[in-house]
Symmetry: C2
Subunit: 182 residues, 2 copies
């Protein structure tokens, strides 16, 4: 099977921000022609599926500036430089929700939008939740903590308040767990 | 419940490409302080879950420059200016796979990475596939067509060749379809 590899002929770095870096690559295509690729570099992120003892899923509601609206999402955050994804998952869960967990299991990792961006998202299942001292949000982070039942989550999906890739994954995971135990 | 709205105080457009536009917004936070938000604008995209008469899922293998590797994905593509998502789904399915479908059903729409990007992805189920004249790829598009069984898809997930948000969604959808019929 062909790899259709695209070789970088030239890279122009357009922007280096706090979160993303943007490059414009000139590439050689498999047929020898050249094209450009717009590339967003991202440090990667983690997200956590966490159930309380009562079987509710822990979620956060926060304003998302790119959409100019709020979404309900599972707890998540960017990986710090040099941080291991599992450590990031524990940190973000505690910072955003005030929960610490006894056990963390890796469920899946996926690229959010590989056509233009290298962001990889690692999703963990957190079990054995206990309340820590409290939340420690970033200075520019404002969010509400929610603990939702299955029916409430279903309603949030229907209303379009749950509408991002990682939380739709969490929703599919929860449905499968209830319906098949897997 | 608070909306935690962030008002745009100033917008600096950093880059306007063929695919993405990048802005740096200065925003006012709910506590009155200011911060910056890095924002990637994207035209939105569609993806298609399509099964052949033999019950295989139609997939494409293509090189993804941001990752410097190939992935196996469900057929997908960006929405053209003014194009309706459903029309885009039919167009991308035919262009990338050579299949036309009798019936198209909207399954889900989600934001791929709402922390920094407004991209929305619409996923459709295509039924009643028939072969059209052939594929019509974009000039800078090179991909292999695959028709995979459930076991082959499972293996591609295990090997990390299926590893993007939309195709992981498709994989969860397929598993649920087989296990619960839903």
């Amino acid at each position: 099977m062909e790899t259709y590899e695209e070789k970088t002929l030239n890279r122009k770095t357009i922007f280096e921000g706090r979160v993303i870096t943007v490059h414009l690559d000139e590439v050689s295509l498999p047929d020898g022609k050249t094209s450009t690729r717009e590339i967003v570099e991202h440090p990667g992120a983690v997200a956590v599926i966490a159930f309380t003892d009562e079987g509710k899923m822990v979620m956060v509601r926060q304003y998302r500036k790119p959409l100019n609206r709020a979404l309900v999402e599972i707890p998540a955050g960017k990986i710090d430089r040099g941080e291991q994804p599992e450590a990031c998952a524990r940190r973000e869960l505690e910072e955003e929700t005030g929960y610490v967990c006894a056990k963390l299991t890796h469920l899946v990792s996926f690229y959010t939008s590989p056509g233009f961006c290298d962001e990889i998202l690692h999703i963990y299942l957190a079990e054995g939740l206990t309340k820590a001292e409290g939340r420690h949000l970033d200075e520019d982070e404002f969010l509400d903590l929610l603990e939702v039942t299955f029916e409430e989550a279903e309603n949030l999906v229907k209303k379009g308040e749950i509408m991002d890739a990682k939380t739709i994954y969490a929703w599919q995971y929860w449905k499968a767990l209830r319906e098949t135990g897997k």
